[in-house]
């Protein structure tokens, strides 16, 4: 089964009930290290980090011990959009040995609905191999989602004519000096650059998050160090997965963004809005809400 958007308590409850109803004798739980969940169960349970999945020692051990009465739990294990990633392939070897699999994810995809195939592959790789996403698959399997709705709000801080001039100059400088570097580094660098126009709008008493520690302020933290609370976003991480992790860790539903109105800020904010749009579309079309 696949369950989207559940809390840790709800995940524990589902695992417990599944064990009781299916005569499970052993549980093997795989988690992305930052989102580890301890399950209180009456049968032996072994925990593995996502990074353990490809390690020799657990790999051969698990191939020996997983049988048709074992339950595999994959908790927040969608970590790359590459469906053929080695970690997924190793996990499929475990999955082939038992019909009992539970997949928990906070969001149904990293970037778009095609990523959902990664979760379906955990259930039955043979069945979905080489197939692209189709809405009907959601009804072929036991899939339920508790929508986690995200709202994006822009705190418009504006920019001066001088800022715009500096921005354009920086853009040209980045384009000219790109050399053989990845073109995607240009928006990343520009986004960080425009942070200087936001510094004056960082207010005491409020918590902010930025891509790095350059502001040196006690109320501005980095994405690596966020806790479960609300933050105002100064700049976004470039990878969608990192921002999804941020939302998972903080539990935030309302994303407020300090927006200078410069094109790079507009771009990142628009990308977030599009992602939210895709998420809403998935929830609406999938009709899987509990």
């Amino acid at each position: 089964m696949i369950r989207i958007g559940l809390s840790d308590a709800e995940k524990r409850d589902i695992v417990q009930r599944y064990i009781q109803n299916h005569g499970i004798t052993n549980v093997y739980a795989f988690s992305w290290e930052s989102f580890h969940v301890s399950f209180d169960v009456d049968v032996p349970i072994e925990y593995y980090g996502y990074k353990d999945i490809i390690e020799y020692k657990p790999f051969y051990h698990l191939l020996e011990v997983i049988d048709e009465r074992s339950l595999l739990v994959f908790n927040e294990c969608m970590r790359t959009q590459n469906r053929s990633d080695l970690t997924y392939n190793c996990a499929h070897h475990y999955c082939n040995q038992t019909p009992h699999k539970i997949v928990f994810e906070t969001f149904p995809f990293i970037e778009d609905k095609d990523d959902f195939m990664i979760l379906l592959d955990f259930l039955d790789k043979g069945k979905y191999k080489g197939k692209s996403f189709d809405w009907s698959f959601l009804h072929d399997e036991d899939v339920r989602a508790k929508p986690r709705r995200i709202i994006a709000e822009s705190i418009d801080v504006g920019h001066t004519a001088k800022a715009l001039q500096e921005y354009e100059k920086k853009k040209v400088q980045l384009l000219d000096g790109l050399g053989n570097s990845d073109p995607d580094t240009i928006p990343r660098n520009l986004h960080v650059f425009v942070g200087r126009y936001k510094a004056a709008h960082i207010l005491p008493g409020l918590e902010y998050v930025a891509r790095n520690d350059r502001f040196k302020l006690p109320n501005v933290t980095t994405y690596k160090h966020v806790e479960r609370r609300d933050y105002i976003v100064i700049d976004f991480p470039h990878r969608r997965l990192d921002f999804n992790d941020f939302l998972k860790t903080t539990g935030m539903r309302r994303v407020q963004f300090l927006n200078t109105g410069l094109k790079v800020d507009q771009h990142y904010f628009r990308e977030l809005q599009h992602w939210i749009g895709r998420l809403e579309e998935f929830y609406a079309k999938a009709s899987l809400c509990e």
Partner: protein, 372 residues
């Protein structure tokens, strides 16, 4: 992705019927084997049919000398599975193999006369040691390399008449090749075949088998298979990377990185036999070396790197081949990187074709210029 249509018949049943049909239609049958999993299955199916009918078929193996020891053990196993039904066609003759790991020894002349002391292993007594065709009228497919692997196959096939050659080609493994060979029926209305000279026909009875079908058959029939598959699987190599073939050509040299771990003795012999082996071992998966995926730091651009490689290319004749080929290409960084790969891997045969198109990086740059 090829579209598969399922019918109410297993691939095994279908393959048995196809092989039976070939036995009905052809007096002479030869199975090409490589020591890999597909040809193991094909040879076993054909040998069983030969055994059932009390007939003899040829098992053809073109020995490239520089192969895994496990491959040789596997071929030996297949040649001796049904000895009463097998005609051994194990070719150990001199021909040229591309060596992607050395620019100073661009190809290896396998089984070269006078070098028997450093051959990977002695020639077998039951092998064919000399070409069975007329050397005067020998077919050469690529004049730059001379008698190569494909030319040997061609010449061997020309010595036969009205013979069915069975090949373990599977459509899912090589869709492009499959499209190429299955466009037209090669024999009567059989699309899984290709017509050749002298009334010879290549047949592909396993064309619709998947990876899992092959392994299931090997398991069910308790067949032996090359140990290399186990080593590679344990090592975590992707399914598409797991293959047994020559150890030194431009598509397989990466195997040299793991070879000392899998077969230390083979690696040791190979070091003495061919130049460039330790380079392949050390740098086969290095992004700035043989992978040619990252630009070495002392070059400004891929074009700069390509020009340097061309300028310093040691073999003038081969250099001309590259120059002529590159003249037809677009001049951008995307193409230049692939040209560098050809030069570094000494691919004058163009086995790693260049994707000659506008640079996608420029498109990305244009996008950011508009958006930002």
């Amino acid at each position: 992705m090829l579209k598969q249509v399922y019918v109410n018949k297993s691939v095994l049943e279908a393959a048995r019927e196809r092989i039976a049909y070939i036995f009905d239609e052809f007096e002479n049958i030869i199975v090409s084997i490589s020591g890999g999993k597909d040809s193991t299955v094909l040879a076993h199916l054909a040998l069983k049919e030969a055994n059932r009918r009390g007939r003899r078929i040829g098992l053809f193996f073109l020995d490239e000398e520089v192969v895994y020891e496990s491959t040789i053990e596997q071929v030996d196993y297949l040649m001796n599975l049904y000895p009463q039904n097998t005609i051994k066609l194990w070719l150990q003759i001199e021909f040229n193999l591309t060596n992607a790991t050395s620019l100073t020894e661009p190809y290896l002349r396998c089984w070269e006369a006078g070098k028997h002391k450093i051959w990977m292993r002695p020639k077998r007594k039951d092998a064919i040691h000399h070409p069975s065709w007329d050397r005067e009228s020998e077919v050469i497919l690529n004049k730059d390399i001379g008698l190569d692997f494909y030319a040997v196959l061609k010449n061997f096939q020309l010595t036969r008449h009205n013979t069915a050659f069975l090949v373990g080609l599977r459509a899912t493994e090589s869709p492009n090749r499959w499209r190429a060979v299955s466009k037209n029926p090669g024999y009567k209305d059989i699309f899984w075949s290709t017509a050749m000279e002298n009334g010879n026909v290549s047949f592909y009875p396993l064309y619709d088998w998947n990876f899992h079908d092959i392994w299931k058959y090997i398991y069910d029939e308790k067949l032996r298979y090359s140990k290399i598959y186990d080593y590679m699987y344990k090592k975590g190599l992707g399914l598409s990377e797991i293959r047994v073939s020559s150890l030194i050509h431009e598509k397989s040299f990466k195997a040299l990185v793991e070879l000392p771990e899998f077969e230390p003795k083979t690696y040791d012999r190979l070091l003495r036999r061919v130049k460039g082996i330790s380079v392949g071992n050390l740098y086969g998966k290095e992004s700035k070396m043989l992978q040619v995926s990252k630009l070495p730091k002392n070059f400004k651009s891929w074009r700069h790197y390509r020009d340097f490689l061309l300028e310093t290319y040691p073999d003038q004749t081969k250099k001309e081949i590259f120059v002529r080929r590159f003249e037809k290409h677009l001049d951008n960084e995307y193409v230049a990187r692939q040209q560098c790969r050809q030069l570094v891997l000494n691919d004058y045969e163009n086995n790693l074709p260049v994707d000659n198109k506008p640079d996608p990086r420029i498109e990305r740059l244009k996008y950011w210029q508009e958006v930002l």
